[in-house]
Amino acid sequence: MSSESKFGEYGGQYVPEALMPAIEELTDAYERYVLDNEDGFMDEFRERLRDFGGRPTPLQRADRLSERYDREVYLKREDLLHGGAHKLNNALGQVLLAKYMGKERIVAETGAGQHGTATAMACAYLDVDCEIYMGRTDINRQRPNVFRMRIHDAAVNPVDIGSGTLKEAINETMRDWATNVEDTHYVIGSVVGPHPFPRMVRDFQSVISEEAREQIREKAGRLPDSVVACAGGGSNTMGAFHEFVGDDEVDLVAVEAGGSALTIDEEEGLAPHSASLSTGDDGVLHGARTKLLQNPDGQILESHSVSAGLDYSGVGPELAYLADEGRVTPVNVGDDAALEAFHRLSKTEGIIPALESSHALAYLEEHPDELGDLVVVNVSGRGDKDLDTVIEESEKRDLDAAPSMEVFEGEQ
């Protein structure tokens, strides 16, 4: 059994030589344990996901959204997974794999802090040392997750370089890995990085579409017309799509962060959005050839999104490939629409979605007719981590959808 390192022209293994033997070792472990279920690895993974993680997560009919858009809308509730996001599927899979490989130490990067939290949680559960790198900007906007990581006994290392977001955190984690590669495994947080990460992370996340496919057949009696998921690196996206890729009648819609505008500020080297799949150019970053936000020279641009978890200049190579093939439709929505969708779901369905997931919900609001009669939206995580950001950003914009928060200020 072998695993291809590329998706068409995308993917590959562009990393310093010091890491290549570890990547070869990981590829071998991926093929044996994940693909061939050697020593019952996948059985153990599934059992732990059930008992520790709380799978399967429900596929819930959203009654008021269905009414609002005059079609059947179902929500895949990854927000109900232990830890509050789909990230645990991958983190648990990789930490367990690292144990099977005899690695003693885990490093990981995190943007929203959700992957860092899931990794810290899996490490505490499986008793492995854990160190997390997180950009300074993200530390400041995602404090609850920083505390959660610390509470699970992970070290959190701030990264001050550049814009202090996910891209810089990945660079720093790769440097740590290159220094300590002999006993350390890098739990990358999305379907990005060198082969075998994009495939392996997708495989761990595919449980989302495996369940959703069964559940929608049971509840609606047929496959959906479309599946909608937000795309940062694209792990909840690939997880929600994978089992539907062969079902040509199901549209797969990847919603990126349109940020505050889709233009690029060449002078500042900054893209005020993170829509690398819809607007990026081919290039090589963090171990893979994929679509990137970059200037004509190939310097990587800083990205922006109100949602820390989508704020990344690249995207998974398999998504780049599926988008080129026309199988996945890349779209994007702006910061404002995402914030409104956040309030809408909270108010109408009693679910506080992550700002990342709010992008998928915002696309549903903006283009319901493009999604057919039966729609599955992946709610990749819950929004508790985003409350500070949401309150601040909603006030800044005077958002109609936002409730008044004055009552908390003590003077009626």
Partner: protein, 281 residues
Amino acid sequence: MSSEIEAAFADEPALVSYVAAGDPDAESTKEYVRALVRGGTDVVELGLPFSEPVAEGPTIQQAIRRALDAGMTPDRYFDLVAELREEVDVPLVCMTYYNLIYQYGSGEGGADDGREGPEPFVAAAAEAGISGLIVPDLPVDESDPLKEACETHGLDLIFIVAPTTTDERLGRMLSRASGFVYVQGRLGTTGARSDVSDDTHGSLDRLAETDLPKAVGFGISEGDHAREIVAGGADGIIVGSAFVDIVAEQEDTADRLEAKARELKAGALDGAPDLPEPESK
């Protein structure tokens, strides 16, 4: 066939010196390269700054940031190289990351002008006077297109051998390497250290039978390190962060670079076991 770079190792242990092009500006880089050559540098490794330098430690990361902030681009880099070639006669090696190579020339015409992949970059580098390339995020497994372009334009493609490199990978690298073998002295990133790692000696032992010159880099900062490494079987040393530290301070920069180069070169010469009689190399 021996390349210009290989020739630079022929007579005595070579000093390969790194600076980031454009740190803090292009004119200063020229002055610094001249100073390094006066101090005995045999090969200059000129960094072309990339925004995501994953193989670099803090010292060189900051240098790259300064150079990018000052406006260094691939085209300005090639101008700088062409100018330097008029002034110094040591080979210049370009150290950069693959995305810049891959992206070069795909700008205006894009994929339509048929100039995809690494060829336009290598052509421009050859034209400017670059003799070889080091691309730390391009392992041998992904190097076919670049190797082909380098052969077309007569550039050496230099591979990095890490302490973790397996014998099988080493064989594949050596079958396509030219110029010299870059022996990564320790795991991790670039940055000056205060000792010589045991990994260095292990790697040199593994490469003892190799015909290409072997130069050790990552962490060398003093004449004594250079002596120990050359005595251990290296044909040269590669020094970056120790020079970049001097550039960062901006005090008597050129003189101090020259003196540092002299110290390192003297250490390397000292470590060479039987220099007087040029033996079979």
